[in-house]
Symmetry: C2
Subunit: 365 residues, 2 copies
């Protein structure tokens, strides 16, 4: 892995991240392909949406497919026929948000499979082992995701456990594949700093902010990012996990963040919420019933080049899954375009203007 910063504008950075499966321009947004697929989209759709790197979940792919099928297939890239970079989440967040009856110890977490109730065990070692056989371009350490709200004492305890697991994850990586550390500490800035300082010992290949976008108000999330974003090592990629909305992204970029992932563009697309250069548009709104314009006249995506709002709305009303696909294509494309606009704005030292425009369009979501 090679990370190169090409331009700085105040705290914001434009860079290039060279990975085993190709280059990724930063700031970058990763579309989420939980189970080894971005719902409704093929590899070709993703390429046509200019997606460079996607995120898949080790937790989900450990549970399903149940066998060692992906290993047999020669790794996740071959299994899903995706030739560009993949980052895998470690499963920490999912173990706590999706499983029942979790039993946490210093060694890891025992939990019941939501699929069949089987007892499963996830640990730093197991997570790294899984991510290694998946063959991801960037692995994440296994951590505990602190819920919100959480008092300072519980948050500290959780953060300390994550630090222990960070060390175990680091030691479990017997490869030279990149591994990122994850800063925890909830909404407590001193705990965030402590977490970061401890993680620096391991000289991880990149540093992420975890435990955000877990239900806290926007302004609290932004305070944390503002305080800690630019303190993450400057020569390494900085990744804000699970975020998010266009305004959150651009604010974080303005505080030095380079990488993002979120289910919003794809999940919201399936519910009819579309992102445009003029704000959001909900296709289920009656006012689009006879609107023969594309979703966004300034957009170059396949859906906007081929179909009208009225037609997509008609498909959605008829429960044709083509609607979900056309809207997913649009939103994935929009997010990649948005990241391109951000990179250009940094190159031109005009990020403030784009922030203002984004605030105008997206203040309400």
């Amino acid at each position: 892995m090679k990370f190169e910063i090409k331009k700085k504008s105040k705290k914001a950075r434009v860079g290039n991240l060279a990975l085993v499966h190709g280059d990724v321009k930063t700031p970058a947004f990763m579309t989420v392909g939980t189970y080894g697929s971005v719902k409704s989209l093929t590899n070709q759709d993703l390429k046509e949406c200019n997606a460079e790197m996607i995120l898949c979940n080790a937790y989900h792919l450990m549970i399903r497919p149940e066998s060692n099928l992906i290993e047999k297939a020669g790794g996740l890239h071959k299994f899903m026929n995706w030739s560009r970079p993949i980052l895998t989440d470690s499963g920490g967040y999912q173990v706590f948000s999706l499983s029942n009856q979790t039993k946490v110890s210093n060694h890891g977490v025992e939990f019941k499979s939501p699929l069949n109730g089987n007892k499963l065990f996830m640990s730093p070692e197991k997570s790294i082992e899984t991510q290694l056989y998946l063959g991801s371009d960037i692995m994440m350490i296994f951590d505990e995701c602190t819920s919100y709200p959480s008092n300072e004492k519980d948050t500290e305890k959780s953060m300390e456990l994550s630090l222990r697991w960070a060390e175990m994850s680091f030691n479990a990586n017997n490869s030279n594949m990149p591994l990122f550390g994850i800063v925890q500490g909830g909404m407590y800035l001193d705990l965030r700093e402590k977490s970061l300082n401890e993680l620096l010992k391991y000289n991880f290949d990149g540093y992420a902010l975890g435990g955000l976008s877990v239900g806290e108000p926007d302004h609290i999330r932004r305070e944390v990012i503002e305080a800690i974003g630019d303190k993450l090592p400057a020569n390494k990629p900085r990744y804000l996990m699970g975020v998010g909305k266009p305004l959150d992204i651009i604010h974080a970029v303005n505080n030095g963040i380079d990488m993002f992932d979120c289910v919003i563009p794809t999940r919201n697309a399936r519910n009819g919420q579309l992102f445009t250069n003029y704000g959001v548009l909900n296709i289920r709104n009656r006012k689009y019933e006879e609107d023969l314009r594309p979703i966004d006249q300034s957009c170059g995506c396949f859906s906007c080049n081929n179909y009208s709002r009225a037609y997509i709305r008609h498909l959605d009303k008829c429960n044709d899954i083509l609607a979900a696909r056309l809207m997913s294509i649009h939103n994935v494309y929009f997010y990649q375009e948005f990241m391109g606009q951000i990179r250009s704005a940094i190159d031109n030292d005009s990020l403030e203007d784009l922030i203002k425009k984004t605030e105008n369009n997206y203040i309400s979501i």
Copy 2:
């Protein structure tokens, strides 16, 4: 419309059907796009599957979209952005199979919209009017579809009503767009002949067999087709409506039929049933769990070029609609390939061999 027969081999014919929106090679299979879309597939997918002509339903498109949106959009081709030919079904079959509380008179059918319970009226005039504003390349007369089983007296009455409506449909067509007649008469060969002889008066642009594939045993359907298929005017396209399975298609071709439509390839795809050159394959079968081969190694479709059975099965298990799409692409492509094989076999006077092969592969479905 211009129909040219290029080669005959016994009763089977290879031809070309020149329509406003392009040429269609016959024998032809039309994929069904009920609501103005082939479920899960874009125009581009359909072209890549070599689909030449699709079928849409006037009944469905009269009910939804509710307004005169398609007319405003400039017709169905523009609304759904499909530049190749479209045949529209008249709605006769659907009025009887999908509606409640139908009230039939000589003038037409009153029924309740399954969407909102509103009273609607469908008549020969209304059907032709609808098909004209949709702008289809081939329109069908409005008919009554006789259910199965039905005694001879009821069948005759129903057939007589369809003849009355055929005349009304013919008179309602104030355009020069092609209109096909539909031969009814259930499973009674003398009624079929009577229906055909009456319809010949109107010199329709093509002749269809309706009222088949309505629940009758395969051998009865085949007897009717054998008796009547080659009696349809030889210089005009002959269309067997709502059929069907590969074996039904090839038997009908062998009896002089040129055109087909059926939901089987797309509907069955969404349920995991795939057509291959070696018979059917159900992706949900456990034996494909770790099968890293494509659906059909001899197939050139996008899905077979890109993905394995195990991956598609995994997507299906995860309820990713991408599974439905990949399987639809495969089946639509397969059917077009199959029709191509049929045309080649007629060209080479080797249809019997292909029938035997098809019997071996598809006798069970």
